[in-house]
Symmetry: C2
Subunit: 187 residues, 2 copies
């Protein structure tokens, strides 16, 4: 099977959009950064928006895959895994290429509630919430849906603080808060 130009484009475009933003990245910049001709891009995608949607799809797969794997590596009990979320976040935040959550940024640039980009970003957050809910259930904790939503709030809040207040350690602040919440749900 030939190396797929389409996938190569999506992989490279993901990095460019993540680092530079969606509206701020023009098609010509995408050509310059990916080394792929504009004609090829428009053979594989009808519009720039379709390329954006494809990068978000890949990002969802990559990010959730990485997080779920990381959490399972760091802890073997469901309860420990809920806490390990924040250890994984700490690692992520410390990467030099860390630029925040791509989906938060995407829905900030495409605000209409029924815009495909906005919808796809919402889906990403919903899938994460559902996964946390399942883990909380496996841990036998009280009100697993409530707890999962609270852990999501802590995760998203930690991301924002990591992007906007660079000096501190929001992942560990969030982990401490999560510990208290999980403790309370253990009674």
């Amino acid at each position: 099977m030939r190396p797929n130009k389409r996938d190569e484009l999506v992989r490279k475009a993901l990095d460019v959009f993540y680092a530079n933003g969606f509206h701020a990245t023009g098609m010509d910049k995408l050509v310059a950064e990916t080394g792929i001709s504009k004609t090829s891009m428009y053979k594989h995608f009808r519009t720039k928006e379709d390329i954006i949607l494809a990068t978000l799809e890949l990002r969802d797969t990559n990010f959730r895959g990485w997080l779920y794997r990381q959490v399972e590596t760091l802890a073997d009990t469901p309860k420990g895994q809920l806490l390990a979320i924040f250890d994984a976040l700490e690692d992520w935040f410390s990467l030099p290429e860390f630029r925040g959550c791509m989906f938060i940024k995407a829905s900030a640039e495409f605000q209409e509630r029924d815009h495909p980009v906005h919808l796809q970003s919402s889906t990403h957050k919903r899938l994460l919430t559902e996964h946390f809910t399942e883990t909380a259930k496996a841990a036998g904790l009280l009100n697993p849906e409530n707890l999962a939503r609270q852990l999501m709030i802590l995760k998203e809040g930690a991301i924002i603080m990591a992007v906007m207040c660079h000096s501190e350690n929001p992942a560990m602040d969030a982990k401490a808060a999560a510990t208290a919440l999980i403790e309370a749900a253990s009674r």
Copy 2:
């Protein structure tokens, strides 16, 4: 004193940028939405970016003013005021014009860490954190800086969830979490 066109522009541009985004709003759109001529705009500001910075300054004043006033109205004890933050958020989220945090969106569109827009957004979050810290100190709670950062994480996370997962009540999820944290810091 004559009605100040500059302030009128900033007030109206704030709404347009907030509703439509920064890069997505061109100067011509700004003319159409504000009813102020482009020539006037460039008499008062050198660049579009200067207009953006002015709208952020106004937003900071307005938002923190509103939040601090709201919190003081809703509760008279410092501890109660820390919880009232989330009641205020709930009101904010339910407004039809609610579109998330303008500073999160600004720093999502202007990502370079030393960009004036990014810096101004960071300042807004720092001022909020400092205010929460003072309130936590006034409440005599343990580790007021820690608690304030955690409350900030809850606040920012709730905003993100409100923007991206429209069905639920993230403000009350965050308030429940805040209750547990404040309780733990009361020992």
